[in-house]
């Protein structure tokens, strides 16, 4: 077990900066998820921590020790690749044994360790197969078994679930979380899937353009986004951002309450807010309403999401009296995109 820390870590490829000054601390035993859009530098950051890529500047510490100049094999890490990178010509057993042999473990102990790892991931009966004879889910487990077999200090995982189909992915996510809990190994997990991030992470680091925009617990990142990027990246559909009198006002689609919907407890009074519905989309598990706020920003399209349990009849082309808890409103500086302190919603405009 160990902590992982990066200090002002930078990586420049010829012509552009992939990672631009990242300070990040992963606590002992923590499951930290790196979340960000494609190309934001997640893989590059992970590979630098693994030692597969050398940083342009900055420091990497594992277990409090600077590992800048250590090769990957000396960093006591294990990595699971997006492609799993199983050695195609070796059997599953040999794949799992590979890291043990590489570190010179005594021959007698290897078989036992391999069996133990295989049992843990339920792949005992696959030990003699070659990777090509495995399904996607089985490959993923072999990759995990290979990663944990030599008890690394840190797990690094790069989108290990992205090659699985949706159903298997849910299952594997759950398993992964349990294994990590059980082993208690410090884990850095890269994904661009926010559902994965929310479900797996003890904390989430949201990245964009090579920098970490926000680091926090999943709910925190969701509820209190630090800037418009985080607000727009998390949530589906994402947070509505409405320009009102020189600030951007943000609120989640599910936070605008339909007429007749119950107000939440303990978040202060709800103020009325008129909503002109232009289109209704029935999703089965709920409804999405597209429209505008005629009193606040008649030109800005917003999306409102109604839960399955809200039965109010809503028709396109009409305006309804919705309500909103003022404490749910977030305010952002339209220039920098950063959060600014909450303020009262500007007075109603007369039509």
């Amino acid at each position: 077990m160990a902590t992982v820390e990066t200090r002002a870590l930078r990586k420049e490829f010829t012509g552009h900066t992939a990672v631009d000054g990242v300070d990040l601390t992963i606590n002992e035993g923590e499951f930290l998820v790196l979340l960000g859009p494609s190309g934001c530098g997640k893989t590059t950051l992970l590979r630098m921590i693994a030692g597969l890529e050398s940083q342009t500047s900055g420091d990497i510490l594992i277990g409090g020790r600077v590992v800048n100049d250590l090769p990957p094999r000396a960093r006591k890490i294990a990595m699971v690749f997006q492609s799993y990178a199983l050695y195609p010509h070796l059997s599953v057993a040999k794949n799992i044994a590979f890291p043990l042999k590489a570190q010179g473990a005594p021959r007698e102990s290897i078989a036992g360790e391999v069996d133990r790892a295989a049992k843990m991931f339920g792949i005992e009966r696959l030990l003699h197969r070659k990777p090509r004879q495995l399904s996607g889910g089985e490959r993923q487990r072999v990759a995990l078994a290979r990663a944990m077999v030599r008890h690394p200090d840190v797990f690094l995982l790069d989108e290990p679930l992205s090659n699985l189909d949706a159903k298997l992915r849910n299952l594997a996510r759950d398993e992964l979380k349990q294994f990590q809990r059980r082993l208690g190994t410090t884990t850095l997990y890269v994904t661009h899937d926010q559902v994965e991030a929310m479900g797996l992470g003890d904390r989430i680091a949201v990245m964009s353009g090579g920098t970490v925009r926000q680091l926090g617990r999943p709910q925190e990142v969701y509820d209190e986004p630090a800037d418009t990027f985080v607000a727009g990246f998390l949530g589906s559909p994402p947070m509505n951002l409405v320009p009102v009198d020189g600030v951007l006002v943000g609120f989640r689609p599910e936070q605008l309450l339909a007429p007749g919907a119950p107000a939440s407890e303990g978040v202060g009074p709800a103020v009325p807010m008129r909503f002109a519905v232009e289109r209704v989309e029935n999703l089965g598990a709920g409804r999405l309403l597209y429209g505008t706020l005629p009193d606040h920003a008649p030109d800005q399209k917003i999306i409102v999401s109604l839960a399955y349990t809200v039965h109010s009849s809503i028709e396109a082309g009409r305006t309804y009296d919705f309500r909103m808890h003022e404490s749910n409103l977030k305010f952002f500086d339209p220039g920098t995109g950063r959060r600014v302190p909450a303020r009262p919603l500007p007075a109603r405009r007369s039509a």
Binding site: L52, R73, Y87, F98, P99, A102
Partner: protein
């Protein structure tokens, strides 16, 4: 389709039938090539087998069936046995060298560096240049009087004042020279093919090996080489086919000499049949290549199946 189609449905339907039916169109498009190959490869091939059982010479017009006589003669002919042995030595040694050298070179070439395209061009030259012309280049390099190799060795001090090897004139040296030229000639193909195999290994696999703690040699011998081995073997089998059947290097450099010490089956077949006029004897000698080729072909097909999964 268009208006005339409606006017003459019968004809168009039939035409459309051929140009749309995968089966018939396929046969039609394949037929010319297959016919041609049958005429210029299969027929002569059968003729060669026929010759080897007859007594046909350049002069005869009515060949006679002689059974296995030509083969029997060949097996009793010391020149043939010598050529058989030479062929085996020369192709096995040269291809063993090629497999080792080509993998070393391919691994070295994997790195990116400036001017790589030029290096690749130079390394490929021996393979692309007509081998008869390349061999002439070597003939000059091995010249008994003006050999640049000897000149250099002497001036570096390796050769004493009274030793002056005649590269193509002394039996063992001649064989070594022929082998060297063949290595020179077939190594580029094996190198480039192995390089292709190496670059088709996903970077992830190398990264995984590194993270898993493999050092340089474990990485090389447990991961990299086994992964390129099938494709490397493909290259070597091709090299084997080329070297076993090649007579050009021997023809240009030594004509089989000195004292038949570099005669191989291919060159022997040529000298027997074209220079000596003994078509049937030459054919019989050439046909001894067939088992080797058949084994190579079978191995190639097997490998092809294995390599697919990498």
């Amino acid at each position: 389709m268009t208006a005339p189609a409606l006017a003459r449905p019968g004809f168009v339907e039939r035409a459309a039938g051929v140009s749309d039916s995968a089966r018939w169109l396929g046969r039609l498009m394949l037929a010319p090539a297959v016919l041609y190959i049958a005429l210029v490869v299969a027929v002569p091939f059968l003729m060669a087998i026929g010759y080897s059982f007859s007594n046909v010479t350049i002069g005869t017009s009515t060949p006679r069936f002689v059974g296995l006589e030509n083969f029997r003669n060949a097996l009793q002919d010391p020149a043939f046995l010598k050529a058989l042995g030479n062929t085996a030595i020369f192709s096995l040694v040269s291809q063993t060298l090629v497999i080792v050298l080509a993998s070393i070179l391919a691994i070295a070439l994997q790195r990116r560096f400036r001017g790589k395209w030029l290096v690749r061009l130079l390394i490929l030259l021996p393979w692309v240049a007509p081998i008869s012309l390349g061999s002439i280049g070597w003939l000059w390099i091995f010249d008994p009087v003006y050999s640049v190799i000897n000149w250099t060795l002497r001036h570096v001090g390796i050769l004493g004042p009274d030793s002056w090897p005649i590269w193509l004139g002394q039996p063992n040296l001649a064989m070594a020279s022929i082998i060297g030229v063949h290595v020179w000639r077939t190594m580029p193909l094996a190198t480039i093919i192995s390089l292709g195999g190496l670059s088709s290994i996903p970077q992830d696999i190398h990264d995984a090996a590194e993270v898993d703690g493999a050092g340089f040699f474990r990485h090389l011998f447990v991961i990299t080489l086994p992964l390129v081995l099938p494709i490397l073997l493909v290259a070597v089998l091709f090299g084997l086919v080329f070297s076993v059947t090649d007579m050009i290097v021997v023809y240009v450099l030594t004509r089989g000499g000195p004292f038949d010490s570099t005669q191989v089956l291919a060159s022997l077949a040529f000298f027997k049949s074209i220079d000596g006029g003994d078509l049937s004897g030459g054919a019989a000698v050439a046909l001894f290549l067939l088992p080797v080729l058949a084994v190579c072909a079978v191995l190639l097909l097997r490998l092809a199946r294995r390599a697919e999964v990498v």
